[in-house]
Structure formats: structure tokens, C-alpha cells
């Protein structure tokens, strides 16, 4: 016969009993909320396989020379520092810039230059691609297509295949464009220019320098501009600034 185990007695020692049920319920609830937020934000960012070509491109008459839109001898120059992943830059490119182009660039009052800032990471390829389009005098057409598609599909707009697709849709010489993009012809130029701007103290995008062409052409950032506009301000603000500088040019 086995010895009988000693009878167990109750003790007054306290031992915490962790209430796992509410902890597990709260934990699962918290993770479920996060999953919903992540999936919801992905859905809100949307996704589109259609290439968007802004209507204004077909109507464009202004001359495109590399990153410059408009005539070289226009009295006023606007230099914009932008980034292809900047929603405010996209807003400006799609809403305000077409009005400036129609009112001031088409009548040869203004020339507009675009410069990259913080061109790194995923947008470096886009910044290189737009320079490649500039080789075929279509910098601004391509620039507008990039922002229009970024606006529709921020996640997928700058994938390598898409960058080449835009060139094809715009009717560029794809062999030359693809070779330029694949060889990273402009990578170092874009990085250097972007770094130079950052070292000069430019931190946010978009930022606009508006001044007399004769002064602006001879200068580099920070420009001897008459006006500086930080952020994608309204068309009226740009119009007033341009008209003020135009008066000085006369």
C-alpha cells in the first residue's frame, strides 16, 4: 500500500491569478483595430492600373528645354524645388501650374524651372526618369504625367515598369528613354543637385523663387529672387507675386 499523500491544507498565502480572458479580448481587439486601419489606409491610397494623361499636355504650346518651360528671354523666372512624393507639389502641378502656364508662360512673360529636392529612395528613379524625358524635350509633359499618376496611385506610380509605360503613352522614343533610365544617366546629377539644395538650407517642398531672369540665371540657390513662396499657395498669391516682379522688369 502506497503511503498516503499528506492532506492538502489551505493557506492564506496570496497568489495573483492573472485574468487572461479580458487581456486576450483587449489584445485581439487592439490588433484588429490596427489591421483595419492599415487595410483601410491602403484602400484609401487606392490603386489604378490606368495611366492618367492630364488633358493640358495635348494643349501645351510652351517650349520645353530640359527642366525649363517657356522662353529663355522671358523677363521673369520661377524656380520651383519639388519632390515627386510631395502631395502639395502634386496639388500645385495639377491645379495652379496650368493656370500660371496659360496666363504667364504662354505669353512669354515667365519661364519656369523645376529642380529636385530630397530626390532619394523610391522617388529617385522618378526624378531620373523626368530628366530622361527632358532629353527628348518632354520634361514637363512627363513631369505632369508623374504627378497625375502619383495623385491616383501614390504607391504604384513610380515603379520601374510604370515609368517606362508613361514614356510609351506620351509617345517618347522608348528605346532611348529606357536606355537612359536603365543606365541611370542622370542619377548622380539628380543626387548632387538635390544635395546642393539641401545644403543650401532648403528643407521643405514645394518652395518657389520668383525673380528677374537676368538675376536668377546668374545665381544658384539661394537665389537673389524678389519673392519666395513656401508651400503650394493659391494661384492668386502666385499671380500677385509674378505681376509685382513683372513691373520691376519693365
Amino acid at each position: 500500500m502506497q503511503p498516503r499523500r499528506p492532506r492538502k491544507k489551505r493557506s492564506a498565502a496570496k497568489r495573483a491569478r492573472t485574468p487572461w480572458v479580458p487581456i486576450i479580448i483587449v489584445g485581439i481587439g487592439a490588433i484588429a483595430v490596427v489591421v483595419a486601419v492599415v487595410l483601410g489606409s491602403a484602400a484609401l491610397r487606392g490603386g489604378s492600373s490606368e495611366v492618367v494623361i492630364p488633358a493640358g499636355i495635348a494643349e501645351r504650346t510652351a517650349r520645353q528645354q530640359g527642366p525649363v518651360l517657356g522662353e529663355e528671354d522671358a523677363p521673369v523666372t520661377i524656380v520651383e524645388y519639388f519632390s515627386f512624393n510631395c502631395p502639395h507639389c502634386a496639388d500645385f502641378a495639377l491645379d495652379t501650374a496650368p493656370r500660371i502656364e496659360k496666363e504667364f508662360i504662354d505669353n512669354k512673360s515667365v519661364r519656369f524651372e523645376a529642380r529636385p529636392l530630397a530626390a532619394e529612395g523610391k522617388i529617385l528613379a522618378a526624378s531620373e526618369a523626368v530628366e530622361c524625358a527632358g532629353d527628348q524635350s518632354r520634361y514637363w509633359d512627363y513631369h505632369d504625367v508623374l504627378f497625375a499618376n502619383f495623385d491616383q496611385d501614390p504607391e504604384g506610380a513610380y515603379k520601374s515598369g510604370r515609368l517606362k509605360e508613361y514614356a510609351e503613352k506620351l509617345g517618347l522614343n522608348t528605346e532611348s528613354f529606357n536606355s537612359c533610365l536603365d543606365s541611370h544617366k542622370y542619377q548622380q546629377t539628380v543626387i548632387d543637385e538635390s544635395k546642393a539644395a539641401a545644403q543650401a538650407g532648403l528643407q521643405s517642398t514645394p518652395i518657389f523663387f520668383i525673380g528677374l531672369t537676368k538675376d536668377m540665371k546668374a545665381e544658384t540657390v539661394p537665389y537673389a529672387s524678389e519673392k519666395t513662396i513656401i508651400g503650394a499657395d493659391t494661384y492668386e498669391v502666385f499671380k500677385a507675386a509674378i505681376e509685382e516682379v513683372l513691373k520691376k522688369a519693365q
Partner: protein, 170 residues
């Protein structure tokens, strides 16, 4: 040492941290961490709202992150989500500090749930910074570390929840 004194010592060692620890020091620590979080997310909200550049002090590429398409969820900036999260945790911690043990462990559990969600979302955002955006924002990393701190502190509290007497075999 007398037997009675030894028993008393054993009993003290067996007890979970006192309710004072959980209802005063713990919420106070959470409050302090939350204030730091409100500072970081508040600054990012301010720069987004007023279209200001994010001061990065040469650490990472704050503007690339703060201006990326991942910086907002539809019309709501992620910085605002973070700020709201910290304010909510702050409110519960302040309430907890005021009511003490009267509401049991529910304030702690609520803080833990929010911190778990916040830390999980911060982990997702940090993944985006490292592997999708290819740029790091020091303010976002700071916020993620603070949220992780709140999670660790509240987890320590959650693991000491309960405290009911249980029958123990001798």
C-alpha cells in the same frame, strides 16, 4: 528568525506589487511618457497642418517621410492619429491616477490595449520607413520608441493584474 516572522516574509514576497504601485507610480510613468509622445506627434501635426519643414537635425530624411503618400490616411495625417492616441492614453492615465483602485484594473487594461495597438501601428510605420519609403524620420522613430515604452510599462502592470486570493496546496 522566528517561524512567524519567516512566514510573514514569505507572504510579503508572494504578494504582487501593492495596489499603490499600480494605481500611482504606473499611471504617473505612463503620463510622463505620453507627454513626450504628445510633444513628438504634436510637432509633426503642427508641421503638417501649417506646411512647415520638419527639423531633422541631420538625422534621417524627415521631409521625405512626412511628405510621402504614407503620411496621411485619406484626409487624416498619420501625425494626427498619433496625437489623438497619445491624448486618449493621457486622459485614461489621468483618470486612473484620480480614481485609484476604484475602477479596478480597467484603466490599466484600456491603456495596455491602446499601447498595444499604438506600438503595432508604429511597427508598421517603421517598416514602411525602412523598406518602402527608404527614409527615416527621427520624430517618427522617437514616437515609436515612446509608444513601445508605454506598452512595456503597461504590460508590466497587466502581468500583475488579479491579486485575488487563491487556494494553495501545502
Amino acid at each position: 528568525m522566528s517561524e512567524a516572522a519567516r512566514d510573514a516574509r514569505v507572504e510579503v514576497e508572494d504578494e504582487r506589487p501593492s495596489s499603490g504601485w499600480r494605481s500611482f507610480r504606473l499611471p504617473l510613468l505612463v503620463l510622463l511618457l505620453t507627454l513626450a509622445g504628445i510633444g513628438a506627434s504634436g510637432y509633426l501635426t503642427y508641421t503638417y497642418w501649417f506646411d512647415k519643414s520638419v527639423a531633422c537635425a541631420g538625422l534621417g530624411s524627415c521631409s521625405v517621410v512626412s511628405e510621402s503618400s504614407y503620411s496621411h490616411m485619406g484626409p487624416i495625417p498619420v501625425a494626427v492619429l498619433g496625437l489623438l492616441g497619445y491624448v486618449a492614453i493621457f486622459a485614461v492615465a489621468a483618470f486612473w491616477l484620480r480614481v485609484g483602485d476604484r475602477w479596478g484594473d480597467w484603466p490599466l487594461l484600456l491603456i495596455w490595449g491602446m499601447a498595444l495597438g499604438g506600438a503595432a501601428y508604429s511597427a508598421y510605420l517603421t517598416y514602411l520607413e525602412l523598406f518602402v519609403i527608404d527614409a527615416v524620420c527621427i520624430w517618427c522613430v522617437t514616437s515609436a520608441v515612446i509608444m513601445l515604452g508605454i506598452l512595456l510599462v503597461s504590460t508590466a502592470g497587466v502581468l500583475t493584474m488579479g491579486g485575488q486570493e487563491e487556494e494553495e496546496d501545502e
